[in-house]
């Protein structure tokens, strides 16, 4: 199976749905299920094949330096898996009874799924830009989708403005590199830049850095993130925080460890700094929020900080820790957003101060909520603890004391604000009586809880260590990637 199919399946789904909208509802649902299932399987297949035997597909048979190369390699495969899990669970959630079924939503969902898979597969800079735009446009619309509240629309607009600035820088960097080296293929550009250090390399590097930090929502450009993540529907927030943000992290790794390998000693400390500041800002801002989803959104900013710190260590251990943390964050944060959505819809408000006693009404959901917060805080045997520990280890290995201390501080602050919510949930008495309504979201949340437990068990197996070892080697040693792309 070639990498093309991984992109094509969800894209087909997205284009078929508007055509089929005149048919009966049942057929649409069937198509959605079919496309979703196939895309899920495609992602898993792509991840497995990329991991076991890195594959290159040259679109149209053009050689890599002219045409577009689609690559599945050990770096893209964990992210393909992440996307599969994230999009798959959001798709299931969209069938929840409380959600109004709408084919438009599914079009956007499949469109962004295709774009994400494209970003994860492509080896070509301009192609990356195009997929990034598809991805961003569908994300803006998803944020503003269907609630038709002014908040959501304003958040979508802010996201649009920031995203456009980011896209501009991205395009500028791409153009610059193309004019300078004559290539758009990442491996080729990297090769060409090897012999040309100096100002010409710095300018595109800075452009890409800015573009990506805007798209991720790292420190100085994080302003759009809390708005977008808190105003959207819960399942969209879950998708944004769990998956879409991590895609930019993938691009960070790919660009700065392949294309700008010359600048490694300069860019990565910058990433470390941005990461530290995001961590601090996210946690401090979360401390003051009374809107539960906004609090979670700020916590996402903080966790992006953890991941960026991991990347900033620029060592195999750091990359591994960051990717592991991305998975843990995905599982826990998606779970948190979905449980928060259930709690908020039960209470009729998103204000933390008005959630009292819900823990008695919805005991199962609340206990899962506690589990997810424990993962994010980093309570020992859980996965969040392990990945934070690996990040700390990587920091200390590189003699980075301040980020390591900030990680500890973050743990303390975040346990402070999560305890506030939990206290509120279990204070007073339940009023509405226990609710036994089990929608699709309920099952997905349970699934996320199980995923957290499974991820916590991973470090017990030596296979996991080997896996991380292979992954780390692949990222650190780009000659393997270059050989893969340039030989055919």
């Amino acid at each position: 199976m070639t990498p093309v199919l991984v992109i094509l399946i969800p894209l087909t789904g997205a284009f078929l749905l508007p055509l089929l909208q005149f048919l009966s509802r049942k057929i649409i649902v069937l198509v959605v299920c079919l496309a979703g299932g196939l895309s899920f399987l495609g992602n898993i297949w792509g991840a497995c094949s990329g991991w076991l035997r890195p594959t290159v597909h040259l679109a149209g048979g053009w050689p890599a330096h002219i045409g577009i190369a689609l690559i599945h390699d050990p770096l893209s495969s964990p992210f393909l898996l992440l996307a599969a899990l994230g999009f798959g669970s959001v798709l299931i959630c969209s069938f929840d009874r409380t959600e109004k079924f709408s084919w438009r939503f599914h079009v956007l969902l499949f469109l962004s799924w295709a774009a994400v898979n494209g970003i994860l597969s492509t080896g070509d800079l301009f192609n990356l830009y195009v997929f990034y735009e598809i991805f961003s446009v569908s994300a803006y619309l998803l944020v503003a989708f269907s609630t038709m509240e002014w908040q959501a629309i304003e958040a979508g607009f802010k996201y649009l403005v920031f995203g456009t600035v980011g896209a501009m820088f991205f395009l500028f960097g791409t153009t610059y590199l193309f004019l300078f080296t004559g290539y758009l293929n990442m491996a080729r550009i990297s090769e060409a830049l090897m012999s040309e250090p100096g100002l010409p390399v710095f300018i595109p590097a800075a452009c890409f850095f800015i573009a990506l930090s805007i798209k991720t929502g790292a420190f100085p450009s994080h302003f759009w993130l809390p708005d977008a993540h808190s105003s959207a529907k819960s399942l969209v927030s879950a998708l944004l925080s769990g998956v879409l943000v991590m895609v930019s992290i993938y691009v960070f790794i790919r660009l700065f460890s392949v294309v700008f390998i010359v600048l490694k000693p300069l860019v990565f400390p910058l990433m470390l700094g941005t990461g530290s500041l995001s961590l601090l800002t996210g946690h401090l801002m979360a401390l003051r929020q009374d809107d539960i989803k906004r609090l979670l959104a700020y916590s996402t900013v903080a966790h992006l900080g953890y991941i960026l710190i991991g990347l900033g260590c620029a060592s195999a251990a750091g990359f591994n820790a960051a990717i592991y943390h991305a998975f843990n964050h995905m599982a826990a944060k998606m779970g948190l957003f979905l449980t928060a959505g259930i709690l908020a819809s039960h209470a009729g408000t998103r204000k933390i101060s008005e959630l009292s006693g819900l823990g008695w009404d919805l005991p199962f959901v609340s206990i899962l909520f506690v589990l997810f917060t424990a993962v994010l805080v980093g309570v020992p045997p859980l996965n969040g603890f392990m990945s934070k520990w690996y990040i700390t280890l990587a920091c200390v290995e590189r003699n980075q004391a301040i980020p390591a201390l900030l990680i500890i501080l973050g743990t303390v602050i975040s346990s402070g604000y999560y305890l506030r919510i939990i206290r509120r949930l279990f204070s007073g008495k339940g009023t509405q009586g226990t609710s036994k309504d089990r929608g699709a979201t309920w099952y997905v949340v349970t699934l996320m809880g199980v995923l957290c437990i499974l991820l916590s068990l991973l470090p017990l197996f030596p296979v996991f260590t080997d896996t991380l070892h292979i992954l780390g080697n692949w990222i650190m040693d780009i000659s393997m990637y270059k050989d893969l792309v340039m030989i055919p």
């Binding site: 850095f209 346990s415 017990l460």
Partner: protein, 490 residues
Amino acid sequence: MNLPFLHLSLNMHPDQISLVMGAFAIFMTLCSALYAYGYGALAKKSQARCFWMGLWSFGVFSFLTVLAADWFSLIIFLELCSISLFLMILAGDVKTAVMYLLTQFAGAGSLLIGVSILIRDSGTIALGPVCPSAFPFFLVGLGLKAALPVMHFWLPRTHSMAPTPASVLLSGFAVKMGVYGLIRLSSESTAPLFLYLGLTMAIYGVIQALLQHDMKRLLAFHTFSQLGFVMSALGSGTEAGIMAALFYSLAHGIFKGLLFCSAGVMEKKYDTRDLGLLGRGIRKDPVTFALFLVGALAITGFPGTSGFLAKSLVKETLKEGHHVLAIQALFLAGIGTALSFSKMAFYGFMKTRPFSGKDMEKEERPREMKYCHAAMLILALGTLALGILPFSLPRSFPMDTRIWLSWGNLLSALSPIAAGILFFTFLPGLFRPLSIDVPDLYWLFSQLERPFNLLSSVLQQYHNGRLPRYLKFLLAAILIIFLLLIRSDQ
């Protein structure tokens, strides 16, 4: 790189220290459970559920903590113990519980950084003395667990606000796990530091204890002071010193558990912990008083109790190291201890109660109280057994047991008690429980959240939802990134 995960020493051979501590953990948990059973139902069912879950998990995790063979798994279990205790304290006071948990998380974090430095610098994380670069982090982390000076700010409040069975475990075993870590950490080079820390703790704790009017707070400060004795035993830096510290920890855990239990019984009965409002317990409840007396005699080091042997051991190790000043300081602390327990016995049990007209005494529940007394009896028997049967200790004990019963030793043990009691009988008014709260460091540390709040409120002002302003920030950031990257070119 080697990524360590739980390497338990269960399949290896945990040494004697681990085994003794492990047995002790189980003993204390069971005593506390028995006491808690008699102590009566907690206010809410959910609280009770939390409490019992915490109690049993504490038993398991503390047992595993002391059996762990490397620092990393020790820290994991230590943190799990903190969470179990958090669940137990939750039944008493939520704010205190949160404060306790945050403090312990900070300590665990510091320990984890220490471990990662250890991995980087020495490549091994086996229990034992650590390299100097990692030492400060270990000291802070374990210090927060074992309540070293300045890092003890959480202790008085936590120990006094927690439900009594939780205080028993906190004082009896939780701080001992920190001490256990410090025992593993101690080496020749750390000895002087530990000695001075220990002496500070012993003296400061006693002074603070004398100024308290809340029974449990008084006991909490005595825990701090007694930990000072343990630390000064470690300060001799010898094998014998480590053994003395271990023995002292065991003895202290048991008799302090007993003392907390009796304070809890009094509190249950009279609904107050204020020494100024208590009294007459000797007539109403002679059993509690007798058991309290065992504990009080033990903590002052009366011959025949475990406290006597423990104190003799500490003195002996210090004598070997020729730390004359230290012995004198501990002598002073001993006088203070005697004074403060005379005060507690007198105001808590002997004196007539001030409000004789309004009887606040509750209806007794003899059947349930019986379990409390049974738990206390076990602890009292433990205290006496440790005092009378010194030969039941592990055979590798490096001390000559005969010197314990020499006249000089008996005299040096009895003299501070006699001095304390005499002083108290002549000037009882001097130690009348005042109804003022003496400030400790807690206030200082509770202000720590201020800077964070301030910082976050400043940040909040910049997150006001105005898009143009956001774009200005973005522009500034872009310029800075360009400058940083281009400047590094030259």
